[in-house]
C-alpha cells in the first residue's frame, strides 16, 4: 500500500464524480451511502497503510536485497509503467538516507541530490545502488526513508516536473486522521443535513474536499501541494456558502476565500523561491529539504522563502492577523466546520511547515535562537484567539476561536522546534475538536437550529449523550490529565521550555501556559451557558438520533485514549517499547534537521494543570456562582472596559480589513481613480477620437477621393481608351494575320542576317 497511496485520494475523486453526476437521481440514502462507502474504504486503506508503515519501521530487514526489492518496487511494478517514468523514490530515500545517517551530525546530507539520482533510469541501476547503500548504511535509517512513487509529468528546458505521491510517517498520519474524521462527518451529516435543499451538492463537495485534502497530504512536490491547497480552499468556500441564500453566509464564504488569497500569494512566491533556491531542478519536497540542510544552502534565501510560505500558513491555518475568516466560516453547516474548519483543512498550513520543516528550521534558525517569527505568531495567536473566545455568544464561534488558539499551539510548537509536539497536537486536536463541533451541531439540532448560547442552557438534562461527549471533548481540550489534550499540549509546552540547543523559548512557554488558563476558563463558560442553568430557548429540546451520537462517542473515545500513543519516556517501566511511539513512527529521519526532544517535565505538567484548574475555578466563580471579585470589572475599571471593547471588536482587525483597506480602496482611491478616469483618460481618449475623425475626413476628401480614386479610375479609363484604339488592328481576317506573321519573320530574318 505504501507505494500506492494515490489510490486513496483517487477513490474520493471517483466518489465526487459519482455523486456529482448521478446524485440527483438517487435518494438521499444512496447519495450519502456512496460517500460513506468510499470514505469508509479510504479509511480502511489508510489503516492498512499505517500498519504497513509501522511494520516497515518495526521489522528490521536482515537481507539487504530484500530491502532493495521493497524499495525499488515502484519502478518495476509502478501503476503506469510509461517510458518517461522515473524510478521510484526509493532513489531519493534509500540512497541518500544512509548517507545522511553517516553524516547527520554535520547536516551534510545530500552530497548526492535526488535529481542526479533520478537520472539513473532503469530498475537495474536503482536496485544495485540501493542494495549497496542498504548494505553499507544503518538499516533503520533506510527503512524510515519516505517512499515516493513518482512519474514525469512534463519536462521544460531540463526542469523536471514530476507528479508523485509520498508515503512517510507524516503523510500517513494525515491520511489516517483525515479519513477517520471525514468518515464520521459523512455519517453524521446524513442526519444533520436531512432534507436539505442541496443534499447532493453537499455530499459531492464533502467527497471532493476529502479527495483534495488526501491529495494534498500525499503530494511529493510543492506544485502538487499547491494544487491540493487551492482545491481544499475551493471546497471550503463552497461549503461555507452552502446556504448562500442568506447574504451573511455568502459573505462569509467570500471572506474566507479572499483572506486565503492574501496568504496564498505568499505561498506561491515561497514555492517559487524554494524551487529556485534548491537549484531550480525539482519541486520535490525531499530535494528542497535536503538543499536546506546542505552546507551550501543560502540562509537568506531560505529565510525569505520560509516567510513567504508562512504567509500561506497564516491565512490557511488561521494565524494572527489573518485568522478573521475562520470564525465567520462557521456560517457553513456544522459538520463542515468540524471537518474542514477544525480538524483537517485548517491544519494544512501546519502540515506545510512540518513537511518543509528543514526550510523553516534552517531559514529561521530555530535551532540556535530564543525567538523567531513563527513562534511569536503562534504565541500571539494562542493568547489572542483564546481571549476572543470569551466574548462570543455563538457556541460555534467560541469553538472557532478555540481552534485558532490551538492552531497557535501547533505553529508555536513548530517554531520552537517541537515538531512532534506540533503534529501530535494536530492529531489529538482533530479528534477532540471535531467531537466538540459535532456536539455543538447536536445541540443546535436539538435547540431549534440556533447556535446562540443565550438561547440554550440546561441542556444537560435533555441530551445526556451529547452532554457527556461534549464534556469529554472539553476536558481533552483543556488539557486535563490523562486525556489526549494533556499529553499533546504538555509536549508542546515542554518543547518550548526546553527549546533547541539550550536556548529556552521562555516567552512562548509563558504564552502557552496563559493559553492553557484561558482555554480552561472559556470552555467552562461554554459548558455553563450551554448545559447548566435553565433552558432559555423555545420548545423542548431532544436528544439527537443514534446516527449523530455514535460518531460523537467514537470521537470522544479518541479524545480519551489517543494521548496515550505518545507517552513520554518518563512513564517508561521495563523494556516494553510503549512510550513515544508517535514520535518513533511519525517523525521523519530523512532530510530532517536534528532537533532536541524535550523530556517530560513534571513541574511544567503540574504547573499547567494547576493553572488550568485555576482557570476553571475563576470561570466557575464568575459564571456559576456569579460572585467573583472579577464581576463588574469592566464597569468599574476603565482599562478593563476598554479591553472588553477591544475584544468585542476583535482587535479591530475586521475594521482594518473591511473599512480601512477595502474601504480605502473603495473610497478615496476609487474616487480618485474615477476622477482620473473621467478627466485625464477620457480627455485623452476623446481627443484621440476627435482627432482621428478629423484626420479621417481630410484623408477621405483629399487622399481617398482624389488621389486613390483618381488613380484607379484613370487606370480603367486608360485601359478602355487604349482598347478602343487598338481594336481596329483586330480585323479577324486570318490571312492578314498570316501576312503580318511572315512580314515579321522576314524582318527578323533580315535583322538576323545583317547583324550576324
Amino acid at each position: 500500500m505504501l507505494t500506492h497511496v494515490w489510490i486513496i485520494p483517487g477513490l474520493m475523486a471517483v466518489s465526487f464524480a459519482l455523486i456529482l453526476l448521478f446524485g440527483k437521481r438517487f435518494s438521499e440514502k444512496i447519495t450519502s451511502g456512496i460517500g460513506i462507502f468510499f470514505i469508509g474504504v479510504c479509511f480502511v486503506l489508510a489503516c492498512v497503510t499505517s500498519v504497513n508503515w509501522i511494520q516497515r519501521i518495526n521489522d528490521p530487514v536482515p537481507d539487504p536485497s530484500a530491502a532493495a526489492s521493497v524499495i525499488s518496487q515502484p519502478s518495476d511494478a509502478g501503476p503506469a509503467p510509461v517510458p518517461g517514468m522515473t524510478d521510484a523514490e526509493a532513489v531519493v530515500g534509500a540512497e541518500v538516507g544512509p548517507a545522511e545517517a553517516a553524516a547527520d551530525a554535520t547536516h551534510a546530507a545530500g552530497e548526492s541530490t535526488p535529481t542526479t539520482e533520478a537520472t539513473t533510469t532503469g530498475s537495474t541501476s536503482t536496485e544495485s545502488t540501493a542494495t549497496e547503500h542498504a548494505a553499507g548504511g544503518e538499516e533503520h535509517e533506510t527503512k524510515a526513508a519516505p517512499i515516493v512513487t513518482r512519474w514525469t509529468w512534463f519536462q521544460i528546458g531540463g526542469i523536471h516536473f514530476e507528479f508523485g505521491f509520498i508515503a512517510d510517517g507524516l503523510s500517513i498520519l494525515m491520511l489516517f486522521t483525515v479519513t477517520a474524521i471525514s468518515l464520521l462527518v459523512h455519517i453524521y451529516s446524513k442526519e444533520y443535513l436531512h432534507d436539505d435543499v442541496r443534499f447532493t451538492h453537499y455530499y459531492a463537495f464533502l467527497s471532493l474536499f476529502s479527495a483534495a485534502m488526501l491529495f494534498y497530504v500525499t503530494s511529493s512536490n510543492t506544485i502538487q501541494m499547491l494544487t491540493g491547497w487551492e482545491l481544499v480552499g475551493v471546497c471550503s468556500f463552497a461549503l461555507i456558502g452552502h446556504w448562500w441564500e442568506d447574504k451573511n453566509n455568502s459573505d462569509a464564504a467570500l471572506k474566507a476565500f479572499l483572506t486565503n488569497r492574501v496568504g496564498d500569494v505568499g505561498l506561491i512566491i515561497g514555492v517559487i523561491i524554494t524551487f529556485f533556491a534548491a537549484g531550480a531542478t525539482s519541486f520535490n519536497v525531499l530535494h528542497i529539504n535536503q538543499y536546506a540542510l546542505s552546507p551550501a544552502a543560502n540562509q537568506t534565501l531560505l529565510l525569505v522563502g520560509a516567510l513567504c510560505l508562512f504567509g500561506g500558513v497564516t491565512s490557511k491555518s488561521g494565524q494572527f492577523p489573518l485568522h478573521t475568516w475562520l470564525p465567520d466560516a462557521m456560517a457553513g453547516p456544522t459538520p463542515v466546520s468540524a471537518l474542514i474548519h477544525a480538524a483537517t483543512m485548517v491544519v494544512a498550513g501546519v502540515y506545510l511547515v512540518a513537511r518543509l520543516y528543514s526550510v523553516f528550521y534552517e531559514g529561521l534558525n530555530i535551532g540556535d535562537n530564543w525567538i523567531n517569527y513563527i513562534a511569536v505568531i503562534g504565541a500571539i495567536t494562542i493568547v489572542g484567539g483564546a481571549a476572543l473566545a470569551f466574548v462570543q455568544t455563538d457556541i460555534k464561534k467560541v469553538l472557532a476561536y478555540s481552534t485558532i488558539s490551538q492552531l497557535g499551539y501547533m505553529v508555536m510548537a513548530l517554531g520552537v522546534g517541537a515538531w512532534t509536539g506540533a503534529i501530535f497536537h494536530l492529531f489529538t486536536h482533530a479528534f477532540f475538536k471535531a467531537c466538540l463541533f459535532l456536539g455543538a451541531g447536536s445541540v443546535s439540532h436539538a435547540a431549534h437550529h440556533t447556535f446562540d448560547m443565550r438561547k440554550m442552557g440546561g441542556l444537560r438534562k435533555y441530551m445526556p449523550t451529547t452532554f457527556k461527549t461534549f464534556i469529554i471533548g472539553t476536558i481533552a481540550l483543556m488539557g486535563i490529565f490523562p486525556l489526549a489534550g494533556f499529553w499533546s499540549k504538555d509536549e508542546v509546552l515542554a518543547g518550548a521550555l526546553n527549546g533547541q540547543g539550550g536556548h529556552a523559548y521562555l516567552f512562548m512557554t509563558i504564552a502557552g501556559l496563559l493559553g492553557a488558563v484561558m482555554t480552561c476558563a472559556y470552555m467552562t463558560r461554554v459548558i455553563y451557558l450551554t448545559f447548566y442553568g435553565e433552558y432559555r430557548g423555545h420548545g423542548t429540546p431532544h436528544e439527537s438520533p443514534k446516527v449523530m451520537t455514535v460518531p460523537l462517542w467514537i470521537l470522544a473515545g479518541g479524545a480519551i485514549v489517543l494521548g496515550l500513543v505518545n507517552l513520554p519516556n518518563w512513564f517508561k517501566i521495563g523494556d516494553v517499547a510503549y512510550t513515544t511511539r508517535f514520535e518513533h513512527y511519525v517523525e521523519p529521519t530523512f532530510a530532517f534537521p536534528v532537533i532536541d526532544h524535550a523530556e517530560f517535565n513534571l513541574g511544567l505538567a503540574l504547573g499547567s494543570l494547576a493553572l488550568g484548574a485555576l482557570g476553571i475555578f475563576l470561570a466557575y466563580q464568575y459564571y456559576w456562582l456569579a460572585k467573583s471579585p472579577l464581576l463588574g470589572l469592566r464597569d468599574k475599571s476603565k482599562v478593563f472596559g476598554r479591553g472588553y471593547w477591544v475584544l468585542e471588536n476583535k482587535y479591530g482587525l475586521d475594521h482594518l480589513y473591511t473599512d480601512i483597506i477595502v474601504g480605502g480602496v473603495k473610497g478615496p482611491i476609487a474616487r480618485a481613480s474615477y476622477w482620473f478616469n473621467n478627466t485625464v483618460i477620457d480627455t485623452v481618449v476623446n481627443t484621440a477620437g476627435t482627432a482621428s475623425v478629423a484626420t479621417g475626413r481630410v484623408l477621405y476628401a483629399q487622399v481617398d477621393q482624389k488621389v486613390v480614386d483618381g488613380l484607379v479610375l484613370s487606370t480603367g479609363a486608360g485601359a478602355e481608351e487604349s482598347g478602343e484604339a487598338l481594336r481596329h488592328i483586330q480585323t479577324g481576317r486570318v490571312q492578314q494575320y498570316a501576312a503580318l506573321l511572315f512580314a515579321g519573320a522576314a524582318i527578323l530574318a533580315v535583322i538576323f542576317v545583317v547583324i550576324v
Binding site: Q730, G732, Q735, F742
Partner: protein, 99 residues
Amino acid sequence: MYLNQFLMLAAAIFCIGVYGVLVRRNGIMVLMSVELILNAVNINLVAFGAFRHDITGQVFALFVIAIAAAEVGVGLALVMMLYRNSRSIDVDDIDLMKG
C-alpha cells in the same frame, strides 16, 4: 554535291507555300500550302544534314513530318467544323474575332 540547288528548291517551295497561305481562300488549300512550307524546311534540314555528314538533320526532318501530320489532322478537323457551322470553308468568312 552542291548545296545551292537544294536551297534554291527549298526557297522556291517556301515562297509558293507562303503565297498559297496568303492568297488562297479555300481553307484546305491554306493547309496544303502550310505543308509546302514545312516540306521546304525539311528539304533544307536534309540538305544541310547530308552536306555536313550529320544525321541530326534527317532526324529533325522526321520529327517535322510527324508533327506536320498531327498539325494537318487538327487543321482538317477545324476546317470540317467550320464547314459544318457555316457551310463554307472560305477563310475570309472566319472573322468572328473582328475587333
